[in-house]
Symmetry: C2
Subunit: 353 residues, 2 copies
């Protein structure tokens, strides 16, 4: 089936590009001797998780318990949840999940650790725990605070203290590792997210700060922080790295109401309003700019396009944020050289609980 036979809007992934993204990052991590734990938050498809593991990833990372449940059911055996698990229902789900896979969770307060400990004892299991260091979101604010919490966790039944994590990651992570080790606390796992993308510009920090693994997911469908498609700040029509973006939305031009405007059948509910304007990058019309979106319409300025798209024509658009866009769709269509090869249900879509 040709992609232009698909109804629109359809969410598609260029398999050649995605496979290149997966391979380059796996090779890079292997060459630099650090474990890779891809984040499923911007991917949500278990089949892609398996591709990542086959390429060499150590395990995966899921922001929400519901996402982790989907992945475990698909046979994934090593999952990190870097998110505080709070509340009766979630604690019960957590211990059930821990019996199905090697599960590690992050905590950042005595309250959360204690509640998990109580549930683990009640349900007869041990939960692997890491402490999150605060870098502006969740986490314990200081290395000393991490040490204090780690000592408490070591005494809590049903918990196994494994190490620490941070997001983002800087030298403070290294200080914390050192403080723990100096106090005789073994640190098996140090999970971070430094700027280590293959095309990235910074010298990697991970050796200095003792990272054992990195968490990142956006590189798979939308390439990485440093090479997801970006616009020139002086000229929004000039973009970089669009050839790294594997995720696209196939849309149809449904109206050409006035000469320099095209309306496409995707808006906020198809792309999300995150980041922009302009929204998306038009692969076939690089000079087109989606300046506005309604809930179900995209308003595209085509004044600079030499050839203008016609009503009924299908156009391919790279969304601004693939990870948020994918959460709006039920199906991801894998294409290669313009032909449909695979249709995946996005099984972890909407798993916010």
């Amino acid at each position: 089936m040709d992609i232009y036979d698909l109804d629109t809007p359809s969410l598609i992934v260029d398999l050649d590009l995605m496979e290149r993204n997966i391979k380059e990052m796996a090779d890079w991590c292997r060459a630099h001797n650090i474990n890779l734990r891809p984040h499923m938050k911007p991917i949500k498809v278990p089949a892609i998780a398996h591709m990542l593991l086959e390429a060499g990833a150590k395990g995966i990372c899921c922001q929400k318990l519901g996402e982790a449940e989907v992945m475990a059911q698909a046979g994934i055996k090593d999952i990190l949840i870097p998110y505080p698990i709070v509340g009766k229902q979630k604690l019960e789900r957590l211990t059930r999940l821990a019996k199905q896979c090697k599960l590690t969770v992050a905590v950042d307060s005595e309250y959360v650790a204690k509640e998990i400990s109580k549930q683990a004892v009640k349900d007869g299991c041990t939960i692997r725990v890491i402490v999150e260091l605060f870098m502006g979101r969740t986490g314990v604010p200081t290395p000393k605070g991490v040490l204090k919490l780690a000592k408490k966790i070591l005494k809590m039944p049903g918990l196994s203290f494994e190490g620490i994590m941070s997001y983002p990651t800087d030298e403070k992570t290294g200080e914390t590792v050192k403080l723990l080790k100096d106090n005789g606390i073994p640190v098996n796992m140090v999970s971070g997210r430094p700027d280590i993308y293959p095309l990235g510009s910074k010298e990697p920090l991970y050796h200095q700060i003792g990272l054992t693994e990195i968490r990142t997911g956006i590189y798979v469908l939308g390439a990485g922080k440093y090479y997801r498609f970006r616009r020139d700040k002086d000229d929004p029509r000039k973009v970089y790295y669009a050839d790294r973006s594997a995720l696209r939305v196939l849309c149809t031009v449904v109206s050409r109401p006035i000469p320099n405007m095209a309306i496409i059948d995707g808006g906020i509910k198809t792309f999300s309003s995150y980041a922009g304007p302009p929204y998306g990058y038009f692969v076939d019309y690089p000079k087109a700019l989606m300046e506005r979106m309604s809930v179900e319409h995209g308003h595209v300025d085509i004044s600079e396009c030499a050839e203008k798209p016609r009503i009924g024509e299908k156009v391919t658009v790279v969304p601004n944020h693939p990870g948020i866009c994918i959460n709006l769709h039920d199906t991801l269509i894998g294409v290669r050289k313009g032909r449909v090869e695979t249709i995946w249900p996005i099984l972890a879509r909407g798993k916010v609980q």
Copy 2:
């Protein structure tokens, strides 16, 4: 079941508030002798569509064909799709749908009208058509252009010309109605969206411009344009009309990393990033401000709250845009006086095709 026994994030609707919103608008339209056609785009639950019809609505409105299919399957018999239907798959779906209900579609180009005509002839049915007037999005730019297209439609087999629509709506709609009638073209339906909310400030235009019906949906869950909760432009902590907002998200405080910050378990994938910051209104903590969101975290400034929410505590948040928020969730939980009364699947969620 008490709402605080729900897992989080959960999307809930206060049934007393929603019923008041539904009744006030229906009463107002009845008193002012204009038909009401609620828009399902920000509602998506067929059971609520039935409540609206029972309150007196003439029919419903669906932005996408997929949404209309869900509603027709739920037994709704009068549906307007104010959106250009383009492409082979959609044309086939359109004629199938027209055999199940009284279906009207808007067109704004000869191309779209011709394609629908061809499909209708092929499938042996007649499609009711209205022409959309351009007011900045889709539509025909001038009243004369509408007349020209209407004349062509009158000659196309398989189509029945019914009238016009606009969005938004102003005096140009009235001019167009007059021009059509002066040219002997019967206009049965004039669908608009003037500012006629019960608590609205403007003098209604609909009598002057000959509207037969109004399309609006946001009033049901989030109240109307003029009384959806709004912030004071000088003081973001001061809000208006929050007591009209029936839709809420129940969240849990999962972290209190530093004294004046609370992290809740809902972010962009729970609320959407549309409109803000700040994001949402905290019913129990009116002085709290959600200044930032990550994909799955809400970052809340609680510096001005006299009492501060604790880790593990559940909080109720009115989303900034109920219609975009509802599209992120699979289930809507109807509550009355703090107790769960109904659980509805959001059947039209994600129907962007």
